[in-house]
Amino acid sequence: MTAKNVLVRVERLARLFPVARGWLRRARHFVHAVDEVSFQIQQGEIFGLVGESGCGKTTTGKLLLKLLEPTRGRISFRLERTPQDLPLPRDADGFVPLTHLRGRRALKEFRRHAQMIFQDPYESLNPRMTVLEIITEPLRVQKIGDPLEQEGQGAEMLKRVGLSPPESFLFRYPHELSGGQRQRVAIARAMIINPSFIVADEPTSMLDVSIRAGIMNLMLSLREEFNISYLYITHDLAVARYMCDRIAVMYLGKIVELGPTEAVIQNPLHPYTKALISAVPVPDPRVKRPSLELKGGVPRPIDPEPRCRFYNRCPIATDHCRIHNHPPLEEKERAHWVACYEA
């Protein structure tokens, strides 16, 4: 991985949520939703965050878009094509640290470069706006072009995401569209200001099977066309395999394994990844999967002990794991990182 092509850099990112804070009293317990997570996303890359519900993948996505502020850590973006007169804080290598972004204008500029596609297309479109108003909202907010130009761009984008002829969609309301069409509108809206980075949070999990493949293929072709990077958040390993170049597996706020998709799926090294992969049902009744039993269920990461987060459920845990801190991510194979002492 060359540093030259990196678009997003995440270093030791952490976000804690207080549990049951009292009136005028400081919280004493915290959910470690995202706990010291580091990774980089290349330009034009689809980077998958995979894990079960509550593992912190959505929180990570929101932190990257500044919808949430991190408790600790650093997120930096390579922002290009920014206006000359806008002074942005920059690191030595030209990256803009998101955590140091100050001022309304700087934040608004950042919003031109990063967009989001949400899970539920029924909730992510304002029911009181027409499709035209929805997809051109980023242009209006960013004051790009006059209304007629915006409408032209909106129509163009609708065609691009497979809603044509655009005139028959522009003035409709979301409730008049099907789930797949809505998700296409959501994609058009995210794409319209030509962002370089998109966080896609389970964009196909609410859609019907026959619609799903179309949306995934659309996102892939948009990546080819515009060289966009995605942070693709999903719980579905099969979807992650289809979409992503690299994936990171998260467990209780930690990345436990990170590597090229095929390497992680075909040759998982972390015991949690192994269990996760063996649990995926296979659409073929002839395949009998081996049963990999994990103890217990996913606990909530409230004030976790410093040792390996997976210790209590791990089938291969040793005394070494018990007395040492959570293992660091190490490169066990080429570009394939694992956080496990025993792997």
């Binding site: 019907d208 099977v209 099969a238 095929e262 296979v282 269920g297």
Partner: protein, 318 residues
């Protein structure tokens, strides 16, 4: 003799906009100890079938035609009093999201005991309690958990309790509507294995309903594929997956990514499922079907037997 025989079941819903053709002429049989999987997208009528079997369809539904023969009696003709006897004792159901419908202010065990006592008034509370403890063992829950409240259960445990509840009156058939949809993969895997094991141990017949081909593949012996209110293909699980006959089945299979085998490009189906207020004439799949010809637009294909014991409703079977 088959345990359950559904013949030409047709259910329409009366709505403000008109009549929704939710189920149209669906027929299938279920043998004792068989696991049938009904797979299809949202709105294809799979849940309506389950509700029709229990006669729990909403008020605006018209069970227009067809018969549901259970142990030789037509459920659609039974008086309500007798139907109540059949629900839970004859046919029970695990509703979609049932695990969230456990009453939070009662102990889980008590909720199941109550269900048993309502349906077997002659049983004593002690007998019922022993029965529930036994059921807990069966579904892999510690019987000590009987006296806990739902909020002390994890998602997977709640789902197990709901399964125990469905089995409480020793039904002949259990219908499971999306039994694992809200669960994480690892828990889902455990639950599916448990259900498979329970079915083997107790010999109960199962009807699984899911939108997920992979889940159905895990648990079902026979699979029925539904599209727009029609059963388009019915056959042994293996046949359906290895050599689908109906183009829709084929399309569904190739729309799923897999973590095994070669990575292949997914084929997406053009268009959307039809509006069931005005279903297309002829074969309901023809507007999206790559093999459609003139006859498909004109005439409705009947569900006919094909090679290897399967049935499909298609003029141009693959």
């Amino acid at each position: 003799m088959a345990l359950l025989e559904v013949c030409g079941l047709t259910v329409h819903y009366q709505t403000r906009q008109g009549e929704v053709h939710a189920i149209d002429g669906v027929s299938f049989t279920l043998e004792p100890g068989e696991a049938l999987g009904l797979v299809g997208e949202s709105g294809c009528g799979k849940t309506s079938i389950a509700l029709a079997l229990l006669r729990l369809l909403p008020e605006n539904a018209l069970a227009k035609r067809g018969r549901i023969l259970f142990a030789g009696r037509d459920l659609l003709e039974l008086p309500e009093e007798e139907m109540r006897q059949i629900r839970w004792k004859g046919i029970s159901m695990i509703f979609q999201g049932a695990m969230n419908s456990l009453n939070p202010v009662y102990r889980v065990g008590d909720q199941i005991i109550e269900a048993i006592l309502t349906h077997n008034p002659q049983a004593s509370e002690r007998q019922a309690r022993a029965k529930v403890a036994q059921l807990f063992e069966l579904v892999g829950l510690d019987p000590e958990r009987l006296d806990r409240f739902p909020h002390e259960y994890s998602g997977g445990m709640k789902q197990r309790a709901v399964i125990a509840m469905a089995l409480a009156c020793d039904p002949k058939i259990v219908i499971a509507d999306e039994p694992t949809t809200a669960l994480d993969v690892i828990v889902q895997d455990k639950i599916l294995r448990e259900m498979r094991r329970i079915q083997k141990e107790t010999g109960v017949s199962m009807i699984y309903i899911s939108h997920d081909m992979a889940v159905i593949a895990e648990v079902a012996d026979t699979i029925g594929v539904m599209y727009a209110g029609k059963l388009v293909e019915l056959g042994p699980a293996e046949e359906i997956f290895t050599s689908p006959v109906h183009p829709y089945t084929e399309a569904l299979l190739s729309a799923f990514p897999s973590i095994h085998g070669e990575k292949r490009r997914l084929k997406s189906l053009p268009g959307e499922p039809p509006d069931l207020l005005h279903p297309p004439p002829g074969c309901r799949f023809h507007p999206r079907c790559p093999y459609a010809t003139a006859v498909c637009q004109r005439e409705e294909p009947p569900l006919e037997p094909h090679r290897d014991g399967g049935q499909a409703a298609c003029w141009h079977p693959l």
